[in-house]
């Protein structure tokens, strides 16, 4: 078994406020294998971005990692001192943010920002440094890179800027790239290009990708596996093809149903009633139970854990024996009964 590039175990992130300790993510565990693209999907506020920020060690105080472990290629990184963590950032973990315009310092030329990053992590200097930067620009598809080297960020279009951002994130050849909503701020026509570029770059640099997005379409295009997050927990995780075509968790089913299909009957758009709970009011038991169309007795009381089911893992009492209430079973249940 190849060792995973990233291994997250029982991660818990809290934000203490005056009134309460808000738990942003609770007991989150997953692995990413080298070269793999793991998608992380969920509504706003589900905890996807917090997961990414926690992995790269950029949670702002008073927020903190309150439990669990993070392993990068087998070595534990969540408790590293700041200087050591800084050396990992950029060099071994890269991160891409949502808005390419605000991600780049408006007062510095992009060439300078590139060479600065490369110089921080390598010994290249002078002409070799500049050549490497230009090569990176060319690799991400910027035309005439020697000229664009001296341009400022605002002189690029949105899609071009995101390419520059990708170049910056990959400048030091990291093993893992965390992409937090990389296409959300872009035009639809440009999104596909950027996704393609990301996949190509990842293959060429042999990097794994944690692709965080709320857009299932992007996941379907780009990811190998996908983790579905709800209220700070992973409710389902498995290969993309299986999760998309045969979603297990009722929430995942709702998500898939909300994607309009070009083929098939023109039904109404499926909506999941209600909205995701605020961090101050997470329901007891399974956090999805107030909105779940399949809710039954154990759901409000006991919290389900991720357990294997078919080719995926799912956290739902529909699939695993519940601690009590064995007799209550909903009428329709696809697949074998637990």
């Amino acid at each position: 078994m190849t060792q995973p590039v990233l291994s997250v175990r029982n991660l818990r992130v809290e934000f203490p406020t005056r009134r309460a300790r808000l738990v942003a993510i609770d007991d989150v565990s997953f692995d990413i294998l080298p070269g793999e693209v793991l998608g992380m999907v969920g509504e706003s506020g589900a905890g996807k971005s917090v997961t990414g920020t926690a992995i790269i060690g950029l949670i702002e105080p008073p927020g903190r990692i309150a439990g669990g472990e993070i392993f990068l290629s087998g070595k534990r990184i969540d408790k590293l001192p700041p200087a050591a963590m800084r050396r990992i950032r950029g060099k071994r973990i890269g991160m891409v943010f949502q808005d390419p315009l605000t991600s780049l310092d408006p007062l510095y030329r992009i060439g300078e920002q590139l060479t600065e990053t490369i110089a921080t992590h390598t010994d290249l200097r002078g002409a070799a440094l500049r050549e490497r930067a230009i090569a990176l620009l060319s690799e991400v598809g910027i035309p005439a890179p020697e000229h664009r080297f001296d341009n400022y960020p605002h002189q690029f279009s949105g899609g071009m800027r995101q390419r520059v951002v990708l170049a910056l994130a990959l400048a030091a050849d990291p093993e893992l790239v965390i992409a937090d909503e990389p296409t959300t701020a872009l035009d639809v026509s440009v999104q596909a290009q950027i996704i393609e570029l990301m996949k190509r770059l990842a293959r060429r640099h042999r990097a794994a990708i944690l692709l965080i997005t709320h857009d299932m379409g992007v996941i379907a295009e780009a990811a190998d596996r996908v983790a579905v997050m709800y209220a700070g927990r992973i409710v389902e995780i498995g290969p993309v093809r299986d999760v998309v075509s045969a979603p297990l968790h009722p929430y995942t089913r709702g998500l898939m149903g909300s994607i309009p299909k070009l083929d098939g009957a023109l039904d109404r758009l499926v909506q999941i009633p209600g909205s995701m709970p605020r961090l101050t009011a997470i329901p007891s038991g399974c956090p999805f139970h107030p909105r779940c169309p399949r809710v039954f007795a154990p759901c409000p009381i006991h919290r389900p854990e991720l357990r294997p089911q078919a080719k995926a893992q799912v956290a739902c009492w529909l699939y695993h024996p519940a601690p009590s209430a064995q007799s209550e079973k909903p009428a329709t249940l696809r697949g074998g009964s637990p």
Binding site: R18, P283, P290, F296, E328
Partner: protein
């Protein structure tokens, strides 16, 4: 059978209960600085307001003055007299009493000037934001031009013009109001800008459009709906402005173009005392100076704290 579970409905909390539990009040009580600043401000204000009743002497009653008692140092020093706690000036006036009366005047001018500036600024801001077009451009132009000049200069100019205009007809009341006017006129711009911004935001909202369709008079719309939304930032500006107004008045009085010596504010007192600094009679200038400093620092602290507390971005 599937149980239908519902989210329990929110209790309708009273607004007072919500206010008492609010983050603002809690942060206020937890900040020792804010509490201390408010206490100091309130104490000084009350002392000033009740000066005629709590001052041990009336420093402006010529019959009470005794020239033999002049130039006395504070009570705890060698030649001090316990009747005059902080000493006396060259005319035998009790320094403590002059400070109390002086604070009254300083505060009075400050509050009146801020009131004038706020009223003028709010009205002009409402008009500029609501009417838009030429009126807006005109008002904002004037504001911009005025902003290039420091307030003190504008105050000096208006004061000087007032003096020249009224020439020999000067009297104390006139000087007082010219002073209030000059300070107030130099500070209206900030209010106008803030209010204009909020007005423009509210103007495009549906309920305003609806009200206009029904034919409600724009003044009523402005005062009933736009104004309450703007009170918060205006309060912050007013608090910080009050400190600035008091400083400006003190400065003008110190320079000799403010209030006449018969109605001395803290600034006038410092000016009088300045002449005796080199003679070693420091108490005549220093005590009013400390009072002024304390008052202004306390108000500034309060305004600072208020601004930080109401700024959601700094949480």
């Amino acid at each position: 059978m599937v149980e239908q579970l519902q989210v329990p409905p929110l209790r309708n909390e009273g607004r007072l209960a919500a206010a008492l539990d609010s983050d603002l009040l809690h942060a206020f009580l937890r900040s020792r600085i804010a509490v201390a600043a408010t206490l100091i401000t309130v104490t000084l204000v009350l002392a000033a307001v009740f000066a005629p009743w709590i001052a041990p002497h009336d420093p402006f009653d010529l019959r009470q003055l005794n020239l033999l008692d002049s130039h006395l140092p504070p009570a705890w020093l060698a030649d001090g007299d316990p009747r005059y706690l902080l000493g006396t000036d060259d005319q035998g006036r009790d320094v403590l009493s002059t400070i109390l009366y002086g604070s009254r005047i300083s505060l009075g001018v400050g509050i009146l000037a801020v009131g004038l500036a706020a009223a003028l600024g709010i009205v002009l801001g409402l008009i500029a934001g609501y009417a838009g077009g030429f009126l807006d451009a005109l008002i904002m132009r004037i504001a911009d031009v005025q902003l290039t000049f420091p307030a003190i200069l504008i105050a000096l100019l208006i004061d000087g013009t007032g003096r020249a205009l009224f020439g020999e007809h000067r009297n104390e009341t006139l000087e007082f109001w010219v002073l209030v006017l000059s300070i107030g006129l130099s500070f209206w711009v900030q209010y106008a800008r803030t209010v204009r911004g909020s007005t423009m935001v509210e103007k495009s909202k549906d309920y305003v459009l609806a009200a206009r369709l029904i034919g409600i008079h724009p003044a009523k719309i402005l005062f009933r709906h736009v104004l309450p939304n703007v009170i918060g930032p205006v309060l912050v500006i007013a608090t910080i402005n009050l400190a600035l107004a008091i400083i400006t008045e003190a400065t003008l009085s110190f320079l000799g173009v403010g209030l006449p010596p018969t109605q001395p504010s803290l600034g006038t007192l410092i000016r009088i005392g300045n002449n005796f600094l080199f003679a070693g009679e420091w108490w005549i200038a220093i005590f009013p100076g400390i009072t002024l400093a304390l008052l202004v620092v306390a108000i500034n602290l309060l305004g600072d704290w208020l601004r930080d507390a109401l700024n959601p971005r700094l949480q």
